[in-house]
């Protein structure tokens, strides 16, 4: 039910997540922020069990902070991805966390954004574009076709909206509202909170 989409552009990373939080047939919350900031330049987008997501993200955030305070330097996105994967991998055969993640981050040293795909079994892969949840079924082909390296921001946002439009159109479980965040050299910023209604001939109403 959760949909997360992300890709890397020219000196930024765009990540979008739907804002639904539900349990079985009930929608509990429609303004749920699944894109959690780990530090000033990294987002952990979580999908799956809500409780596990909260606990796990909290754990990662606190340990990344502890590293920062202890060593007076921030971890790179790659390091955080590896650390997160390690936590998932050691947990899977003991007390598994039912969370699938997209980790997006911007490293000042390389001046590049990067995106990682992590799942609850402990797999981790650096990707240029990807998605979690049912969105992955629909969005994969769109990104395969239209993603290019070094997309500038406007084109990237257009591409993201194209993906989200497709998710809204084809996913039977209605999820119209998405939150799009961007990470670049200035840090994390909320790009838009979009409400998509594909019946309106691909028009997108913007919230906020």
């Amino acid at each position: 039910m959760d949909s997360l989409v992300g890709f890397v552009g020219k000196n930024y990373v765009l990540i979008a997540g739907d804002t639904n939080a539900g349990r079985s047939i009930m929608r509990l919350k429609d303004d749920f922020d699944k894109l959690v900031p780990i530090d000033s330049h990294k987002i952990l987008a979580k999908s799956g069990e809500i409780g596990d997501g909260n606990q796990f993200c909290n754990l990662i955030i606190r340990n990344v902070s502890l590293y920062r305070i202890r060593n007076e330097t921030e971890l790179t996105t790659k390091s955080v991805a590896h650390y997160t994967r390690r936590q998932l991998a050691t947990a899977i055969r003991k007390n598994p966390y039912s969370v699938n993640l997209l980790l997006g981050g911007y490293d000042k040293k390389d001046q590049k954004g990067s995106l990682y795909y992590l799942d609850y079994l402990g797999s981790s892969k650096k990707i240029n574009y990807g998605a979690q949840g049912y969105a992955a079924l629909f969005v994969g082909s769109i990104l395969d076709r239209f993603w290019k390296e070094d997309l500038d921001f406007e084109d990237g946002l257009e591409l993201m909206k194209k993906c989200l439009r497709e998710v809204e159109k084809r996913l039977i479980i209605g999820t119209r509202c998405f939150l799009i965040k961007m990470i670049n050299s200035d840090g994390i910023s909320v790009v838009e909170k979009v409400m998509i209604n594909s019946k309106n001939k691909n028009e997108i109403e913007e919230e906020n």
Partner: protein, 241 residues
């Protein structure tokens, strides 16, 4: 029977000799000063003169425990590392459970509790460290706390630990006024250290903790400027007399 062998043993006149010896170790350490202003906290430390071939930047006495809390210490540096590590972990642990940043008194209590534990355990010795902890409490007031090897802690307006504790404390008691602004607080801290630090302003580190801002270390040139102003003032006073 020697009453200083194991710390778990009281001496006949009610002293824990090992704890008192630990306080002696603190008195051998380089001086650290903390001063509380109206809305600012300043820490000053005397740095041990580094050997010629040593990189001075690796000798850091003022450390951050969390984004909003700093501390310094006097005594055995290696012992302080343990306390600092534990404190840093505790800060993150607190935030993990309560989602709120830790309070200054809370972490002070924790550090003091840790120090006390080591005065009442088998096979360990007390930490030879006194600490000065600064931060802002939940109401936004600046707070300065001191702990010592016995596990005592208390809040101070201005305090000093380490080898020049006595003269610096006397100086602070004479010259401290309530509600000082940032400039006055910094000057008082520097002045109190300059009196006692042998090698002058090159071996002083000053850190300023402002509310909701990261800690700022005062630059070398600025410290040198302020010290120069003191010396000129002193000269003028002497000439007048």
């Amino acid at each position: 029977m020697s009453y200083d062998r194991a710390i778990t043993v009281f001496s006949p006149d009610g002293h824990l000799i090992q704890v008192e010896y630990a306080l002696e170790a603190v008195k051998k350490g380089t001086t650290a000063v903390g001063v509380k202003g109206k809305d600012v906290l300043v820490l000053g430390v005397e740095k041990k003169s580094t050997a010629k071939l040593q990189d001075p930047r690796t000798v850091r006495k003022i450390v951050q425990i969390d984004d909003h809390i700093c501390m310094t210490f006097a005594g055995l540096t290696a012992d302080s590392r343990i306390l600092i590590n534990k404190a840093r972990f505790e800060c993150q642990s607190y935030k993990y459970y309560y989602e709120d940043p830790i309070g200054v008194e809370y972490i002070t209590r924790y550090i003091a509790k840790t120090q006390q534990k080591y005065t009442q355990s088998v096979g360990v010795r007390p930490f030879g460290v006194s600490t000065l902890i600064v931060g802002y409490d939940s109401k936004g007031f600046p707070k300065l706390y001191q702990t010592d090897p016995s596990g005592n802690f208390s809040s101070w307006k201005a305090s000093c630990i380490g080898r020049s504790e006595k003269p610096v404390k006397e100086f602070l008691e004479k010259n401290y006024v309530d509600e000082m602004d940032e400039e006055q607080t910094v000057r008082l801290t520097i002045q109190s250290l300059v009196e006692v630090v042998e090698s002058g302003e090159k071996n002083i580190d000053i850190a300023i903790m402002r509310k909701n801002k990261p800690i700022e270390f005062l630059g070398r040139t600025r410290i040198a400027e302020i010290v120069k102003e003191f010396e000129e003032e002193k000269k003028r006073k002497e000439e007048e007399d």
